[in-house]
Amino acid sequence: MKHARITFLLLTIFALALTGCGGATSAPATEAPVAMTEAPAAPANPNLILATTTSTQDSGLLDVLVPMFEEQTSYTVQTVAVGTGAALKMAEEGNADVLLVHAPASEKALMDAGWGKDRFLVMHNDFVIVGPAADPAGIKGTPTAVEAFQKIADAGSDFITRGDDSGTNKMEISLWGKTTADPNGQAWYIDSGQGMGATLTITSEKQAYTLTDRATYLANKENLDLEILVEGDAALLNVYHVITVNPDKWPKSNYDGAIAFAKFMTDPATQKVIGEFGVDKFGQPLFFPDADKTDADLGLE
């Protein structure tokens, strides 16, 4: 008897839980038709997979741009935020339709190999070197990033590298290549193997140095015990391009959607939104629109 009563009680709880879920899911369905009436005719394939880097996702920029794009075009964007290495790989394997990435050298290789169809300059932000206020390696105010890296290596101060093949990681490795130091295998060169947000947390906890994009640093600043020590070097520009996946290689990819997204990202109205993003919260823009510029203007060949 006792068991029967407990079973009944459990079933009642499950039943209540189920009706609760049902009520929650029915709510958005009533809103959907309203959005549909404003948007143009639905595209043949409304699902668009955007592979992008963790930095655009973590900064919150995509949370603003993607809903705008979806409303204007009635595409549904599935954003996959990964390291640039994985994003480029997704294009090669046909698992994405469009990329928003920042590793110009690797992007060129992707285009040369024919995996990407079109490539548009969208925007840039910049990298900064952050570290503890005490600045044990004395890099504050050093004019170039390479000199600052050299000082960190000479002092043997802890430096956290992401080590995840991301755009930021690739930039950092190229900077080390211009110093006389080889950080690999050094005790002070700590490999976090994680995204920018987590790496900044580790850097702050260990009171070490790291290279970060300005946007992610500003977005996490209040939780970090770190300061910007080196900035403004032309070598520290972080340039973003949109790349459409080549439909000749992957016929199943949503090329129409990819082109629509590329057009949207380079549209003057969107560019204005990009340039104003973050000003209200951080007092300075996080990204600088570049659709009217060329790669050469930004010092990329």
Binding site: V82, D191, S192, Q194, A198, I202, E205
Partner: protein, 216 residues
């Protein structure tokens, strides 16, 4: 190509951390589970429900709370444990301890209650009786140990958060798989996955062998 020195180091570290965490869970969970199974005290069934809920504790939530506690700004920040193997062990003990405890309690409660009366009747002391009950329930108790080990060797959320996935220091098999997948090195990630499964299988095979041998 996959069996280089670094993969070996990561594998050994994973085994050390998870074995130590499981061992500690057994050390606390076996007595505690026994108390919950045999003891008669107020709030026993409430505690048992807590433990049973804990068997499904999401590792990432455990990781979050352990991280907040161990950060330099946290209450135990002065111990400098964050991003060390010790931090991972702490989190993994919290994850596997309820598993071991809950399954221990269930194993002992499944024993015929007349066995206890008989042992008392034969003049066994309290400790002797518990020892006999453990021996009697050794099959499900070894299963509890295997479940505890399985819950920690396979978790990634807590290891990532409190360990930091730092190369040569706190990178374990599961976090290395996340990293390699993020890099787009899917073949290497799959190889590490197969390695992890093989190791888990070998450990469980050994434990099952002990278990089945004692079943005869």
């Amino acid at each position: 190509m996959i069996f280089n020195a670094e993969v070996f180091q990561i594998t050994i570290l994973s085994l050390q951390i998870s074995a130590l965490a499981t061992g500690l869970s057994l050390f606390i969970g076996l007595p505690f589970g026994t108390l919950l199974a045999l003891g008669k005290f107020y709030g026993r069934s409430f505690l048992l429900s807590m433990v049973n809920t804990g068997m499904g504790l999401p590792p990432v939530v455990v990781g979050l709370f352990v991280a907040i506690t161990l950060w330099r700004s946290g209450p135990l920040g002065d111990m400098h444990l964050i991003y060390t193997p010790t931090a991972i062990i702490i989190a993994q003990v919290i994850i596997s301890f309820p598993v071991v405890t809950g399954l221990t309690a269930a194993a002992l409660q499944a024993l015929d209650s007349r066995l206890r009366l008989q042992l008392y009747g034969l003049g066994a002391s309290r400790l002797q009786m518990i020892w006999m009950l453990w021996k009697e329930a050794r099959l499900p108790l070894l299963a509890a140990l295997m479940a505890g080990f399985g819950s920690v060797i396979s978790e990634v959320g807590a290891s990532m958060m409190v360990g930091g996935n730092i190369r040569y220091q706190t990178r374990v098999l599961t976090t290395a798989i996340v990293l390699e997948t993020g890099k787009g090195n899917f073949d290497f990630a799959i190889a590490l996955g197969i390695l992890l499964l093989t190791i888990t299988f070998l450990v469980n095979w050994a434990l099952t062998w002990i278990q089945q041998r004692s079943a005869k």
